[in-house]
């Protein structure tokens, strides 16, 4: 029990079990009268045409891509933010350089027009 994460583990298990138990309780309490019409896919009363896989804009991928890159960047920045105060000023500038290199990436994506929704 000396590992702080064991508390987090118990916490997450309870956080998943509680709503799960409530769902089961609701299922027991609620009526159950399934019918094919009721279970149809809902589209405001209009009958469904085709399957549920519709073609998506590839542009969603561009945003996901930018997100991944910046997410990884920020993860690198957290140890920097933790340590820079106890290191020479040089270390602060290293972090700034790290951010600026990626800011160039954002500028490139912007200039390329990949961020224009169409």
């Amino acid at each position: 029990m000396d590992n702080a994460w064991s508390v987090v583990g118990i916490f997450m298990i309870v956080a998943i079990v509680l709503p799960g138990a409530a769902l089961i309780m609701a299922r027991l309490l609620g009526p159950k009268k399934p019918s094919p019409i009721k279970q149809q896919t809902y589209e405001c009363g209009v009958e469904t045409v085709g399957e549920s896989w519709v073609q998506f804009k590839a542009q969603y991928y561009v945003y996901a891509l930018a997100f991944v890159v910046f997410d990884v960047e920020v993860v690198f920045l957290y140890p920097w933010a933790r340590a820079y105060g106890q290191l020479p000023l040089f270390a602060t500038l290293e972090g700034a350089l790290f951010i600026l290199i990626l800011a160039v990436g954002l500028l490139y994506v912007w200039r390329k027009g990949a961020l224009e929704w169409q």
């Binding site: 029990m1 702080a4 064991s6 508390v7 987090v8 118990i10 916490f11 997450m12 309870v14 956080a15 998943i16 509680l18 709503p19 799960g20 409530a22 769902l23 309780m25 609701a26 299922r27 609620g30 009526p31 159950k32 399934p34 094919p36 279970q39 149809q40 896919t41 809902y42 589209e43 405001c44 469904t48 399957e51 549920s52 896989w53 519709v54 998506f56 969603y60 945003y63 930018a66 997100f67 910046f70 997410d71 920020v74 920045l77 957290y78 933010a81 933790r82 820079y84 105060g85 106890q86 000023l89 500038l93 972090g95 700034a96 951010i99 990626l102 800011a103 954002l106 961020l115 929704w117």
Partner: protein, 399 residues
């Protein structure tokens, strides 16, 4: 001697003493106690949703010049319980062709992701689930569960509008996660600690909302978008995608998405209070640490009120505006803010607290003025272009 001022500590010690008298040794008693806290805190978090829903409905009603719930019980206080009875006894419909397990898992994860955030929030000097040395990153990690839940919900329902809505929602959530994590980085920069207790302790003198107001603003906007409330509620635009990713959900499963949203908003309020408004610090906390719980709940409710206020005030934005606002304003702003604050903070680390914080505030104001000037210039040129396009073209150019 019983010190009621330090209520939580006294309670904890009393319980541990009880366990030790029952035959456990000291470390086992401490372990059992923290396991008990870890098991009770999620329950408390879930129950918080009950007063929250009433509070928010009343606030929204007052902001819109209505009464709000006022039929069931005094001031409509029992309305939420009536709704709970209703939602518990509703039929639980799973559409044909849905992936049943994933369909049921999604709402559970949506709630668990929000409740998971409560594990690290310090409510008072001695009242918190656990003090992780990577608390701030833990918040980001727990937040990914909510994104995951929405993807699962959208995919498993076998409905094209659900999938479309889920894609929009996820695009919004991951986009706004960038400024959110950038704004979470600022308290870490200023306090030199990743644990939330360390961040609160570093705000004893000056709250971070005063040394980094821009970061607090980023946090406010990004968390509103992360929760997906107006003006960022285009992911459930009824007129376009009939309620989005949760279209096929009914009964308790729908209720969980609903509860998750309310609870997420309030939890973000608590986090905003912890990271930027000094958490449980306040007058008299040194002598009566239990007062901290009162302070953080008041501050958290205040931030939550800001979220509700924004929800009641702003009209819904379009998807291109939502993405532009994030990638062309908030993210670059965050990227410039962080090195600026780091350099100022590190450069003045030897000088007095007040000078350093004044310089940080000055840096924020300068950056804000710069951004506003650039935005003003861009807006003016856009208006000029629009005006020149509106005038009829010369006859020679007309074909």
């Amino acid at each position: 001697m019983v010190n009621l001022g330090d209520f939580f500590y006294t309670l904890g010690m009393w319980l541990q003493g009880l366990l030790m008298r029952a035959g456990l040794n000291e470390s086992a008693a401490r372990g059992a106690f923290s396991a008990l806290v870890a098991a009770l805190l999620p329950l408390i978090a879930l129950l918080t949703a009950v007063p929250l829903i009433w509070l928010e409905r009343k606030w929204i009603a007052r902001l819109q010049d209505r009464m709000g719930p006022n039929r069931v019980g005094p001031f409509g206080l029992l309305q939420v319980f009536a709704d709970m009875v209703k939602i518990f006894t509703k039929e639980d419909i799973t559409p044909l062709g849905a992936d049943r397990v994933v369909f049921a898992l999604a709402p559970v994860l949506a709630v668990a992701g929000v409740v998971g955030l409560w594990a690290v929030i310090p409510f008072a000097a001695n009242a918190f689930g656990v003090d992780l040395n990577v608390g701030v990153l833990y918040l980001v990690a727990a937040g990914t569960l909510s994104t995951l839940a929405i993807m699962l919900a959208g995919w498993s329902a076998n409905n094209k509008y659900a999938l479309l809505g889920a894609f929009r929602t996820v695009a919004q959530m991951i986009s706004y996660e960038v400024p959110l994590v950038l704004s979470l980085l600022v308290p870490v920069l200023l306090s030199g600690s990743l644990g939330l207790n360390g961040i609160v302790a570093a705000q004893r003198e000056v709250w971070f909302v005063f040394s980094a107001p821009l970061a607090a603003l980023l946090f406010l906007i990004a968390s509103q978008a992360e929760v997906g409330r107006a003006p960022f509620d285009l992911l459930e635009a009824e007129s376009e995608i009939v309620a989005g990713f949760n279209i096929e959900y009914s009964g308790m499963k729908f209720g969980f998405f609903f509860v998750g949203e309310f609870l997420h908003s309030f939890t973000m309020g608590l986090l905003g209070a912890t990271l930027f408004l000094g958490g449980w610090t306040g007058p008299g906390v040194e002598t009566y640490p239990a007062l901290g719980a009162v302070y953080i709940i008041l501050k958290g409710t205040f931030v939550y009120f800001l979220f509700v206020w924004a929800r009641a005030t702003f009209p819904r934005i379009r998807i291109d505006q939502m993405l532009d606002f994030n990638w062309k304003l908030l993210t670059p702003l965050g990227l410039f803010l962080i090195p600026l604050l780091a350099v100022v903070n590190r450069g003045l680390s030897e000088s007095s607290v007040w000078l350093r914080n004044a310089a940080l505030l000055g840096a924020n104001v300068l950056l804000a003025a710069l951004v506003l000037t650039i935005l003003g210039m861009r807006g003016r040129s856009a208006r000029m272009r629009a005006a020149s396009n509106a005038t009829p073209a010369p006859a020679a150019l007309r074909r």
